[in-house]
């Protein structure tokens, strides 16, 4: 999230697309309702079905799963064509004026530089996705925005293809509904108006998920909705610490604080540092990397030995979730740790996760209930006598039986206290990982392969690991050995240490750590700066220079985030810019993390191209109306032939998956909570009355749902909340399903994720859970 939950109360128009905020983040509706009660705000919901959020929306628009980019592109085009964008903002705060290489172009669904690759896919040489520069390497600009090669004109050209009729035919959203959404949301393009977009996995879980997010960002930038109170690109995180787990580097491609993982190409620290961005705040990355190495290797890390840079493994290739399971299937992965994760229900093509686990020599699982991942050998139809995997199932303590921090979607790092001892032999994951490390270190004391990274590692959190000690290591220490104030004090000479640079400041005072603060704001715009700590440096709204005009006057004087009073910057938040200089000095550089120091309407960073383009999901009922390229041309195909053909008659229905308020993720927590089973007892799928008529079922009947990969059996709900959509002139039905069930726990049921293809986004590899093809029929 660029903003935070409470800030929703400052919005004028809130659009929930690719998310279902009332069901999956119910407390968000407190602040949505507040905006409606106090500001007369309007709520738009764009969703394939009438959800509990849509039920209370001012405006609901249906959309075919997998067509978010077409819908959002239509909105971008609408704003550009009807002149509804925020001109001063776009001119000053984005790279709209930058001139692009004249060789850049887009034809037949592909950007320039494409080259055919395996499985009908492509790779890109991004050479033309670049700016024109002067002799000194400075980007050329046209502040009139008229040059045909400037970003703004290229954007207009690209998006002109997304007219209302085309968008309606692709998305299935009726033209008049689309226009209503466009008029209402684009009304926030005026200075002083705040439009807020809430999204979640309904944007991201597609082969084009990242470009969906980027489409939201582009729309918000055009309307001047980034960096202001009540605005933002707000990813609503589905899990309580998904933000924090990412911040801690629990992802294959990064270490802590979003620093890239060292790779084979980096021979040494200098080689790694050579990839440091040349401009923007990331130029400080070497300080953060050395400080992390100092936190990990202490006195052993010296300038002479590259601060133990070689102790870090080098990344050879994609090692993400789907990739590692593929390597497991191929026999490369032999042993696995799995902490509080349940891929045997939650992963794509989930039954294969259970199948591939048989290839492991050993599997260590830590969880609070016996989950399907640990019990894969007990799955229906399995013969345990043929499964050789050793499984260790470690009993984990519950959340209120241990202490430490978790980070919410608004980046608030909040301390959680212990209320009781863990039950029986169960132990906190902190205790478990600490004891496991010590056991492994003991085993290596007698020798073994390259033991140095294990033996030299700083690991000193007490006999029973103390979360406070770990928190202080993450926060970091300055040259004097005191807790470091924040990341501006970190150095690249080995004098400072810091576990995750973006967290420095969250525990910088042992007696009164910021993450434990509990002072509720009594006046202001809702920042609550004295409640816990938000990374970075307690900033609640990022890019907040954009909340004021180039002269430092807030676009909305009633909701000032920061404002220049003629002498100094006054603040309702921590500035995301140099606030010691007059506004003119920062008027063109409000995005400090971007090397261009401006928001990038055009960027070469994405795999698919500088502008998002609509491609159909891997499994689609229709040919791509926008061009010859059917499907994301650079997405990696892990399982060729594992998809139903375009317009398949065997699998004629569009399928999508989602969640319920009453259950959670793979369900292993909530399916073991009787009150929640009472409130939502069983697995079911949802279909429209017209589809129900076609297959001859009524609510409560049993059905089989089948995809190219698997089939499941469960009950059906027939509901007018789902309706067929007119796509390219043809009525298309949708089957919606919940993915909370599995074969363990108090409430057992079929796993919808068995049906999902293992195909992912080209940038992030997130699987395409939200759009595929299926058939459905009555049982008996």
């Amino acid at each position: 999230m660029t903003n935070h939950w409470i800030d929703y109360k400052n919005s004028d128009v809130i659009m929930n697309i690719g998310g279902n905020t009332a069901e999956n983040h119910p407390i968000s509706m407190k602040w949505v309702q507040k905006a409606r009660d106090e500001r007369g705000a309007k709520l738009i919901v764009v969703d394939p079905r009438v959800t509990r959020t849509a039920a209370v929306a001012d405006l609901y628009a249906p959309i075919r799963p997998g067509t978010n980019i077409a819908f959002l592109s239509g909105l971008i085009n609408y704003a550009l064509e009807k002149d509804l964008y925020h001109k001063e903002y776009v001119l000053n705060y984005t790279n709209a004026a930058s001139l692009v290489n004249p060789g850049f172009g887009f034809n037949d669904g592909l950007f320039t530089g494409s080259k055919a690759a395996e499985h009908g896919q492509y790779t890109y040489d991004k050479a033309t996705w670049a700016f024109q520069t002067d002799a000194e390497g400075k980007t050329l600009k046209d502040p009139t925005l008229q040059d045909p090669n400037c970003v703004f004109q290229l954007m207009k050209k690209h998006y002109s293809r997304y007219d209302v009729k085309t968008v309606s035919e692709i998305t299935g959203c009726p033209e008049d509904k689309f226009r209503e959404v466009a008029d209402l949301f684009c009304s926030t393009g005026k200075p002083g108006k705040a439009g807020n977009i809430l999204y979640a996995m309904g944007i991201t879980q597609f082969t084009h998920g990242s470009q969906g997010v980027r489409s939201i960002a582009l729309l918000q930038l055009l309307l001047g909705n980034v960096g202001i109170a009540g605005g933002g690109v707000n990813a609503q995180r589905g899990q309580s610490n998904v933000q924090g787990a990412c911040d801690m580097g629990q992802l294959y491609h990064i270490v802590t604080g979003y620093m890239p993982m060292p790779a084979d190409a980096h021979k040494d620290l200098a080689g790694y540092n050579a990839t440091t961005p040349k401009a923007g705040y990331w130029t400080n990355r070497p300080k953060f990397m050395v400080s992390m190495l100092k936190a990990w290797y202490g006195d052993k890390a010296t300038a002479d030995n590259d601060f133990c840079f070689d102790y870090l493994p080098k990344l050879d290739k994609d090692r993400s979730h789907m990739a590692m399971y593929k390597y497991m299937a191929q026999g490369e992965v032999k042993g696995m740790f799995c902490f509080a994760d349940n891929p045997a229900v939650g992963g794509p093509t989930a039954f294969r996760k259970r199948e591939y686990a048989k290839k492991l020599d050993w599997l260590v699982v830590s969880d609070i209930f016996e989950n399907e991942t640990a019990a894969f050998w007990k799955a229906p139809g399995e013969n345990p006598e043929e499964i050789d995997t050793e499984v260790f199932l470690l009993p984990a303590a519950l959340h209120f039986e241990k202490e430490g921090t978790i980070t919410n979607s608004g980046r608030w790092i909040q301390w959680r206290y212990k209320a009781q001892e863990a039950l029986g032999d169960s132990k906190s994951d902190l205790w478990i990982v600490d004891k496991l490390f010590k056991a492994v270190r003991k085993a290596y004391a007698a020798g073994g392969k390259f033991p140095a990274p294990i033996l030299d590692m700083v690991w000193d959190y007490g006999d029973d690991a103390d979360a406070v000690k770990v928190a202080m290591e993450i926060n970091g220490y300055d040259a004097s050995g005191a807790l470091v104030e924040n990341f501006t004090k970190l150095a690249d000479d080995g004098s400072t240490s810091c576990g995750s640079w973006i967290y420095s400041g969250f525990y910088n005072n042992e007696s009164d750590p910021a993450s434990k603060r509990r002072e509720k704001e009594t006046e202001g715009i809702g920042s609550n700066a004295r409640w816990s700590f938000a990374w970075p440096v307690n900033r609640r709204i990022v890019y907040n220079r954009c909340s004021a005009d180039p002269e430092g006057k807030p676009w909305n004087p009633d909701l000032p985030v920061l404002w220049w009073d003629g002498k100094e910057w006054k603040r309702n938040d921590v500035p995301d810019f140099n606030a010691t200089v007059p506004p003119a000095d920062t008027a063109k550089t409000p995005f400090i993390m971007s090397p261009e120091l401006q928001a990038r309407l055009f960027s070469s960073a994405m795999a698919e191209g500088p502008f998002p383009e609509h491609y159909e999901p891997w499994e689609s009922p229709v040919a791509n109306k926008m061009g010859k390229v059917q499907f994301n041309p650079v997405s990696k195909v892990w399982y060729p032939g594992d998809n139903a053909e375009v317009g398949s008659s065997e699998f004629p229905y569009i399928a999508t998956s989602y969640r319920l308020t009453e259950h959670y993720q793979s369900g292993i927590m909530t399916r073991n909570m009787p009150w929640l089973n009472e409130a939502m007892p069983e697995m079911f799928v949802e279909i429209s009355p017209s589809l129900a008529g076609k297959i001859g079922v009524k609510s409560g009947d049993k059905v089989v749902v089948e995809s190219k990969r698997a089939q499941i059996e469960c009950k059906v709900a027939v509901t007018p909340r789902l309706k067929s959509l007119k796509v390219n002139g043809e009525e298309k039905e949708i089957v919606g399903m919940f993915f909370h069930w599995g074969f363990m726990g108090l409430s057992k049921g079929a796993s919808a994720n068995d049906l999902i293809p293992s195909i992912g986004d080209a940038n992030t590899t997130i699987p395409e859970f939200k759009a595929f093809l299926c058939n459905i029929r009555r049982v008996g």
Partner: protein, 261 residues
């Protein structure tokens, strides 16, 4: 303390069931086993261990699909039929407006269930169970568990006159913003209920009786059936035995009445 009213503003409800579960949580109620009912509504009814629930209703009008949620529990009537019929005076109404059952006195005869115009009381283990309006919380200045949990302010608790004024203002506001059928429910029904609804549509669309009535036939039946109960209860007959006797007596009277018809 003045009488409280629980205000249910369905226009703000998002159907999260925080109220329903919070009720079980505060009142320490075991889960009731349920099965898929064909919709999101679960449990399908009130039970001795389930004192409140959210009703889900779906309607497909010409172009708009309506998905309605409404909290349902004891209405805490100002003139409760259950209190009036109870043969052993186990039911009382306190100054907060809470209609309460004294479980030490209740014999589980079910007369209260029989006459309740909203079919709220549930009998289990020869006792009647229903919402207590969290009187322990409310008497300590806290809100009921359902109102405390509600994220959007769809359920709130407050002084009767203030809550009714708030409801009226909200209805006016809803009418202005296009909800032509918006109305208040519970203010005048049965002489005023302890639960007042702001509805955006007709009461029956939310599973509420359009004109709630205490059925005189039911009251008559129960009065006849319960005639001797009061005496028997005072001589200390065990509740279980009394209840068994009452079942027989009810059947007898039913047969008699059917004979007359």
């Amino acid at each position: 303390m003045t009488t409280k009213v629980r205000l249910i503003d369905v226009s703000k409800c998002v159907g999260c069931k925080g109220c329903q579960v919070s009720c079980k949580n505060w009142n320490q109620l075991p889960a009731t086993p349920t099965e898929f009912s064909g919709s999101y509504e679960s449990p399908p009814d009130l039970f001795p261990n389930t004192w409140s629930r959210v009703k889900f209703n779906e309607y497909a009008d010409s172009d708009k699909v309506k998905f309605y949620f409404s909290f349902f529990s004891c209405m805490h009537c100002s003139d409760p039929a259950c209190l009036n019929i109870c043969p052993v005076k186990a039911i009382s109404k306190d100054s907060l407006g809470s209609v309460k059952v004294d479980l030490g006195v209740c014999i589980g005869c079910g007369a209260c269930k029989g006459v309740c115009p909203f079919n709220v009381p549930r009998i289990g283990n020869n006792k009647m169970f229903k919402c207590t309006l969290c009187s322990a919380r409310v008497s300590n200045g806290m809100a009921s568990a359902c109102a405390t949990a509600c994220p959007t302010g769809a359920i709130s608790l407050g002084d009767a006159d203030e809550k009714i004024a708030e409801a009226e203002a909200r209805v006016a506001e809803l009418k202005k913003s296009g909800f032509a059928n918006a109305r208040i429910y519970g203010k005048d029904e049965l002489g005023g209920l302890g639960v007042v609804y702001v509805l955006t549509d007709a009461p029956d669309k939310y599973g509420l009786p359009a004109e709630p009535k205490v059925s005189l036939a039911d009251v008559y039946f129960w009065k006849v059936a319960l005639g001797p109960v009061k005496t028997l209860a005072t001589v200390g007959l065990a509740a279980g035995a009394l209840s068994g006797w009452l079942q027989m007596r009810k059947e007898e009277i039913r047969k008699e009445q059917e004979g007359k018809e």
